[in-house]
Amino acid sequence: MKLSRYGEDGIRILFGDSINLEIHKKVRQFYFFLKSLELKEIIDIIPSFRSCLIHFDVESTSFQKLASFIMEREPSVSSVDLPEAKTYEIPVSYGGEFGPDMKFLISQLGLSEDEIINIHISIIYTVFAVGFIPGFPYLGILDRRLSVPRLETPRVKVPEGSVGIAQLQTGIYSFDSPGGWRIIGRTEKKLFNPQEAPYSLLQIGDRIRFLRL
């Protein structure tokens, strides 16, 4: 666990340097531990693949105070009760009008559409992070055989429900939004409901299995 500053009101806590489940387990444990303390000085916590970013209130604490508090409490992080990780099934219509980048993948990867779909549905993915927009799950770890770079120029609008891949990640656009991931299919499953807590279907640590429709 490595603490560093992020601007005047952020603390970045780094647990490793790559995308893997061991590092993410530490992130998740730390996130739920810190959340359980319900500190007034903390405005928000953003957990992701290898880090937690803490946004703190500069009026009520400082980097030094909060960082030393966190270092002191570190030994008790592993004692936190973690919520049960749930597994969800997400039905997807692959290819065709719902997967505009499928053709690119076929030519780029030298695989058939069936092979691509079979590889994509063969893994139970872990939710590493939820963000950049509400409810969007960053899922891993994708099979190396499907690894492709993001689009050079992101699309202005990717339709809600689109399933995309980028490098070793796959994800689902929870709303219409700009996006640079390669789109291979679409689901009708609603991922975010602002009217009802906990709002997001998926939380970090949950698991997803894609089903081919």
Binding site: S4, R5, Y6, G7, E8, D9, G10, R12, S18, I19, Y31, K35, I43, D44, I45, I46, P47, S48, F49, R50, S51, C52, L53, H55, V58, E59, A129, V130, G131, F132, I133, P134, G135, F136, Y138, R150, E152, Q169, S174, F175, D176, S177, F192, P194, Q195, P198, Y199, S200, Q203, I204
Partner: protein, 309 residues
């Protein structure tokens, strides 16, 4: 009741922000000029997190169905109440049926309109702010439209007060933004860091919205050994990201995670100014240490407190 006669280019409901849900990707969507928003609530005697209207562009107009106290802060505008010119950054009484009209914006970009009677809106995920991409919060989850009507929440008049001229910030370009280093500053060549840190001129492009402001400039260069992107990670408002093309994007209040190298973060004391960058404006950055940024913020808070009391 408030009735929107004209929306300006663009107007939405905002408040102090939607916090505590960063782990599920919910961004703050807060007022971009937080200082102007706080002063607005102060002028009206409102709660610190009362809803207000954030407007871009002139030709904004509305009328009210009851007597109320109204105020405008933020960008300097030429505003009229039934053709009587109004002072900037001041509260004023509106009688039932009178018309408030903002003719045009003289300095700055976004301005804030609020009422002593509040607005009868529903908090969604603990905030009144509009999340436009996801269409929730604010007024029906969307920008205001001509003819929209909103009820007042209660019937109270505010005191009449105005902000002393010295407490109204300058919003004139060129904008000078102080920055502190970001987590990936070492990804860039010393020349590029110097260009950003020591006053090269950047231009605000027309690719800008509440999510981010894309600048135009000679691209910054990554060191040979540095990655062009990072493993996606949390970001905070004011983060300056550099995508693969080397041209900076200043992130505002609509994203929780980013995948580009974060070269710097705009000092808190200068973040309100980000609300007033408009296409074509020139921007110069100055890199400062974190202690200096903290004391700038402290001074700004003291100034606000001495005035608000």
């Amino acid at each position: 009741m408030i009735k929107i006669i004209n929306t300006g280019w663009f107007s939405i409901i905002i408040d102090s922000g939607r916090y505590g849900h960063g782990a599920i990707g919910v961004p703050p969507s807060s007022a971009l000029d937080h200082y102007a928003y706080c002063i607005l609530n102060h002028l009206l005697g409102n709660d610190k997190d009362a809803p207000a209207i954030e407007v871009i562009g002139g030709k904004f107009a509305l009328t009210v169905g009851t007597d109320v106290t109204c105020a405008i802060t933020g960008a300097r505008v030429r505003a009229f109440l039934n053709d009587q010119p109004l002072r900037p950054w001041a509260s004023f009484p509106m009688v039932k049926g009178s018309i408030l009209k903002v003719q045009d914006v003289e300095e700055g970009f976004r301005y804030y309109v609020g009422f002593s009677c509040g607005m009868n809106l529903e908090r969604i995920i603990s905030s009144y702010s509009t999340n436009m991409e996801c269409r929730f919060g604010g007024f029906k989850g969307r920008p205001l439209q001509k003819g929209d009507e909103m009820d007042f929440k209660d019937m109270k008049m505010g005191e009449l007060s105005e902000v002393p001229e010295r407490h109204i910030p300058s919003m004139k370009p060129p904008h000078r933004l102080r920055i502190v280093e970001g987590p990936e500053i070492s990804y860039f060549t010393p020349d590029s860091v110097k260009a950003l840190a020591e006053g090269s001129v950047f231009t605000v492009s027309n690719r800008m919205n509440r999510t981010g402001i894309r600048l135009e400039a000679k691209p910054l260069t990554f060191r040979k050994e540095a990655d062009m992107s990072i493993i996606s990670e949390g970001i905070l408002p004011g983060t300056i990201q550099i995508p693969g093309d080397g041209v900076p994007i200043i992130m505002l209040h609509e994203r929780t995670i980013g995948g580009y190298a974060r070269i710097a973060v705009v000092a808190k004391a200068d973040q309100d100014l980000l609300a007033h960058l408009k296409p074509g404006d020139h921007v110069l950055f100055e890199k400062i240490g974190i202690e200096e940024a903290q004391s700038l913020w402290k001074r700004k808070q003291e100034a606000i407190n001495s005035f608000i009391k």
